[in-house]
C-alpha cells in the first residue's frame, strides 16, 4: 500500500472513529435512542432494525465502491472492453432494494397507524407554539381533578403512565413539538389542530426543543415534559388551580406587585392579581404582542425555567439536584418549586434588565412598524435596579 493511500485510510478511519465516539455522549437528554414512553418505544422498535439493515447495506455499498475505486483506478492500463447493460444484474439490483423497502414499508405503516391511535386517551393538553415559547393549557377534566382550565408554559406536567393527547397549534408561524424520549415530532401549524399522543413510563424530566425553524430565536425555543406520580400530579393540579396571593403590606414584594401592575400586566396575566381599586387586573397581550399572548405567570416559581425554557430559574446546584434525582424523588423535588435559596437571581435579573440581550427577539420599539408596534418577544422595559429588586421579590412569591 502506498504512503498516500495509507494516509487516506488513516484519515478516513480517524473521521469515522470521531463520528462513532461522538455518539457516546453521557449527558444527552434529547437522545432518540432512549425511549421512556410507549409511543417512543414503538418508534424505537422500528428504528432499531431499520437502522441495522440500513447500516449493513451502507457498509456493503461503501466497501464495494471503495474496492472498485482502488482496484480499477487509472494506472495507465489499456481501456477494457466496453459492454452495454447486464439485464439479469440490473433487474436483480432493482428488485432487491424494492423488496427491502417494501418490507420496511410494511412495518413503517403499521407503526404510523399504531402511533395515530387516540381512542384510549386519558388526558388532553392543548399545546400552542408562539415565537419563541410553548404554552400549555389543560381543559377542564374533573376526573383528573382539573375542575377549571389550567394554563402554564415552558414545562408541561403529566401524570406518569397516563395516555396524554396533545392538541397542537400555533399562533404565528409553524413550530414543531418534539420530546424525543416520549414520541416523535409533530408540527404545530397556525389554523390547524394536530394531535400527538404520548405518555411517560416513569417520573422524570424529559427535554425537547422546537424542531421547525421559526425565526430569530428558534434555537432558544425549548420545552420540557415533567412526568409526576399520580399523587404528585394531583398536588401540582391543586396548586395550579389556586390564585396568586398578594404579598403582605410594606414588604419589598408588595412594592414589586405595584411595579408588576405598572409594567408587566400589560402582557402577563397573574390570576387573582387586583388593581389598586380592587378590580381584577386583566392582561392585554392581544394589544401589545404580535401573536396575541404572553406567558401566564401565576405560578412562575412552580416551574424550573423561564423565557421559553431557555433559562433556568434554579441555580446550577439546585438544577443538578432536581434533574439528577431518581424517579422516586424527582416529583417531590420538582414540586418544591423555586425557593429563595435556589433562585437563579443572576439570569432573572439580567432578563428583567434587558431581555432581548439574552434572547434575540423582535422587540425594539423603533423597528415595529410592520407589526403595528406590537412586540414579538419581551422588550427592554428600561427598569431601574430598584424596580428589578422589587420585581424579583414579587415574582419569588408566585409559587
Amino acid at each position: 500500500m502506498s504512503t498516500k493511500i495509507r494516509r487516506i485510510v488513516a484519515g478516513v478511519s480517524g473521521l469515522a472513529a470521531t463520528a462513532f465516539l461522538a455518539g457516546c455522549a453521557k449527558d444527552a437528554p434529547q437522545d432518540t435512542w432512549q425511549p421512556k414512553g410507549s409511543n417512543a418505544k414503538i418508534i424505537d422498535d422500528l428504528q432499531q432494525p431499520v437502522f441495522a439493515i440500513a447500516g449493513v447495506i451502507g457498509v456493503i455499498v461503501t466497501c464495494a465502491v471503495v474496492y472498485c475505486i482502488i482496484k480499477f483506478r487509472d494506472r495507465g492500463q489499456a481501456m477494457p472492453e466496453q459492454t452495454h447493460g447486464k439485464p439479469a444484474l440490473e433487474i436483480g439490483m432493482t428488485i432487491l432494494p424494492a423488496l427491502i423497502l417494501a418490507g420496511v414499508g410494511v412495518f413503517t405503516f403499521r407503526t404510523v397507524f399504531d402511533l395515530s391511535k387516540t381512542s384510549d386517551t386519558q388526558m388532553v393538553v392543548n399545546v400552542t407554539g408562539q415565537q419563541w415559547w410553548w404554552e400549555y393549557d389543560y381543559p377542564a377534566q374533573p376526573e383528573l381533578g382539573i375542575t377549571q382550565p389550567i394554563i402554564t408554559s415552558g414545562q408541561r406536567i403529566i401524570p406518569v403512565g397516563t395516555k396524554v393527547l396533545l392538541r397542537e397549534t400555533s399562533r404565528d408561524v409553524i413550530h414543531s413539538y418534539w420530546i424525543p424520549a416520549l414520541n416523535g415530532k409533530r408540527d404545530a401549524v397556525p389554523g390547524r389542530v394536530h394531535t400527538l399522543r404520548l405518555d411517560a413510563d416513569e417520573p422524570g424530566i424529559y427535554a425537547g426543543q422546537c424542531t421547525e425553524f421559526c425565526g430569530l430565536s428558534h434555537a432558544n425555543m425549548r420545552m420540557e415534559t415533567v412526568a409526576l406520580s399520580k399523587e404528585d400530579f394531583a398536588a401540582w393540579v391543586a396548586n395550579q388551580l389556586t390564585n396568586a396571593k398578594s404579598p403582605a403590606e410594606k414588604t419589598l414584594a408588595k412594592e414589586g406587585e405595584g411595579v408588576f401592575l405598572n409594567q408587566c400586566v400589560r402582557c402577563h396575566q397573574v390570576n387573582g392579581l387586583k388593581k389598586v381599586d380592587g378590580t381584577p387586573a386583566i392582561a392585554a397581550p392581544d394589544e401589545n404582542v404580535w401573536a396575541g399572548a404572553a406567558p401566564n405567570l401565576t405560578h412562575l416559581m412552580s416551574r424550573n425555567t423561564f423565557a421559553g425554557a431557555a433559562f433556568d430559574l434554579l441555580s446550577k446546584k439546585c438544577r443538578a439536584d432536581v434533574w439528577g434525582a431518581s424517579s422516586e424523588t424527582v416529583g417531590k423535588k420538582y414540586l418544591a418549586g423555586v425557593g429563595e435559596e435556589c433562585l437563579n437571581q443572576t439570569d432573572l435579573r439580567r432578563w428583567l434588565r434587558n431581555a432581548p440581550a439574552m434572547k434575540p427577539m423582535y422587540a425594539d420599539p423603533a423597528k415595529l412598524t410592520s407589526t403595528n408596534g406590537k412586540y414579538r418577544g419581551m422588550p427592554n422595559l428600561g427598569l431601574t435596579e430598584d424596580d428589578i429588586d422589587k420585581l424579583v421579590a414579587y415574582l419569588s412569591t408566585l409559587k
Partner: protein, 373 residues
C-alpha cells in the same frame, strides 16, 4: 487568466461585499442582514472559483474566443428592458409598491439575460454555438417562467369572463371551452404531421382570444347579481337571532375543510345542546377554547327545525359608557346539516363578567359554556 464566467461571479462577489459594508454602515448594524449578504457573497465567490477551475465548463475560451473589440454578433433588447425596469423601480418608489416590484423584476430579468447573452457571445466566433450555450443556461429558467406567466394570464382572463357572464352562460362557456380544448388537443395528438406553424397559430390565436375576452369582460364589470350582493352585503350575515336570512351560502357545509382546526363539535338533538371536544370521547356542557388564537367549532343540527348557533364572546365599548355584546353565529341550517363557526377570543374568561357561551336562539335553557384559560 480569468474566464468570462469567473469575472461575472467575481464582480457579483465584490458588489455584494460592497453592499454588505454599506448596509451595515448605513441601514442596519444588526447581524441578520449582514450574515445574509455575506452568505450570498460566499456563494458567488464559490461559483467564481468553480467557473475559474473548470474554465467555464464546456465553453471554449482563450484562443477561440471572439477577439477583443469584435462587433457584437447579435443585437440585444435587454438594455432597453433594463432601462424600463430601472424607471419602474424609481417610479415605484414614488407611486405604488406594485410598480416598484414589476420594475425590479424587469431589472433583474434583463440583467440576467443581458449578462448571459454577453457571456455566451464571447465564447466563440460561432454564432450558432454561442446561441446553443446561451439556451443551455437560460432555457431551464425562461420556459417555466414564460409558461407560468402565460397560464396566469389565461386563468385570470377566463375568470374575468366567468364573473361577467350570467350563471347559465358561464356553464355553457365552460362546457364549450372544455370540449374545444379536448377536441383540438385530440386532433394535435392524432395528427402529428400537422404543420408546426398551424399548431402554434391555433394556440396563439386561442390565447389571444381568451386574453382579449378577459380584458373586455373586466372592463364590463361583474354580473348584476354579484354587484347587488356586494352592495347589499348578502354574505356578511350579521343576524344572530331567530331571523332567517334571505341570502346566505346554502352550501357552506360542503366546505368544511375547516375541520382540520375544529376544537369541538356542538350538536343539537332532541332540543338539547351537547358538545364533544377533539380527542375527548364523552360529551360535555363546557368546552375549553384557545386563548387569543382563531379556532373553529362545528355546529351540527339533528333536529327537524332549522337552527343556528350563536356565540356570545363578551362585550366591547363602542363609545363612552356604551357597551355592546360581541356575537358571532352560523347560518340557519336544516336537519343533518353542518356549519363551521370560526372565531377568536383574545382574553381569558376572567376578562368577562358573563361567561362566554354558545346558544341556539329560541332554545331556552340550553347553552354550552366556553372557558378560555
Amino acid at each position: 487568466m480569468f474566464t468570462p464566467g469567473s469575472k461575472l461571479f467575481l464582480g457579483l462577489t465584490g458588489f455584494v461585499l460592497a453592499v454588505s459594508v454599506i448596509y451595515v454602515a448605513l441601514v442596519d448594524n444588526s447581524i441578520g442582514g449582514a450574515v445574509a449578504l455575506l452568505s450570498v457573497a460566499t456563494g458567488t465567490a464559490l461559483l467564481a472559483g468553480l467557473t475559474l477551475f473548470n474554465r467555464d465548463g464546456e465553453v471554449a475560451v482563450g484562443d477561440v474566443a471572439a477577439p477583443a473589440g469584435a462587433e457584437p454578433l447579435t443585437s440585444s433588447m435587454w438594455p432597453l428592458v433594463a432601462t424600463v425596469g430601472f424607471v419602474g423601480v424609481v417610479a415605484g418608489l414614488l407611486t405604488h409598491p406594485i410598480v416598484f416590484f414589476l420594475g425590479l423584476i424587469a431589472l433583474l430579468a434583463s440583467g440576467t439575460e443581458w449578462l448571459i447573452q454577453s457571456w455566451s457571445e464571447g465564447a466563440s466566433s460561432d454564432k450558432t454555438y454561442n446561441a446553443s450555450i446561451r439556451g443551455r443556461m437560460l432555457h431551464p429558467l425562461e420556459f417555466p417562467v414564460l409558461a407560468l406567466v402565460g397560464l396566469g394570464v389565461i386563468i385570470v382572463a377566463f375568470s374575468r369572463v366567468m364573473l361577467a357572464v350570467s350563471r347559465d352562460a358561464g356553464a355553457i362557456i365552460f362546457i364549450v371551452a372544455g370540449a374545444a380544448v379536448l377536441f383540438v388537443g385530440s386532433i394535435f395528438a392524432l395528427k402529428p404531421s400537422l404543420k408546426k406553424t398551424l399548431v402554434v397559430g391555433i394556440c396563439v390565436a386561442s390565447a389571444v382570444g381568451v386574453a382579449a375576452s378577459g380584458i373586455a369582460a373586466a372592463s364590463n364589470g361583474l354580473r348584476a347579481d354579484l354587484v347587488e350582493a356586494k352592495e347589499e352585503q348578502h354574505f356578511s350575515h350579521k343576524e344572530c337571532g331567530e331571523e332567517v336570512s334571505e341570502h346566505f351560502d346554502h352550501l357552506a357545509e360542503g366546505t368544511i375543510s375547516l375541520r382540520s382546526n375544529a376544537v369541538a363539535t356542538i350538536e343539537l338533538r332532541d332540543g338539547k345542546l351537547t358538545a364533544r371536544e377533539l380527542g375527548v370521547a364523552k360529551v360535555t356542557q363546557t368546552i375549553t377554547f384557545p386563548r387569543s388564537n382563531s379556532a373553529t367549532i362545528i355546529f351540527r343540527n339533528k333536529d327537524e327545525k332549522e337552527a343556528r348557533l350563536t356565540a356570545f364572546l363578551g362585550t366591547k365599548a363602542v363609545q363612552d359608557g356604551v357597551v355592546e355584546e360581541v356575537l358571532d353565529c352560523t347560518q340557519m341550517i336544516g336537519k343533518d346539516h353542518e356549519q363551521a363557526l370560526t372565531f377568536k377570543i383574545a382574553k381569558s374568561s376572567r376578562a368577562s363578567d358573563k361567561p362566554y357561551t354558545l346558544t341556539v336562539p329560541g332554545l331556552e335553557g340550553q347553552s354550552i359554556e366556553i372557558m378560555v384559560p
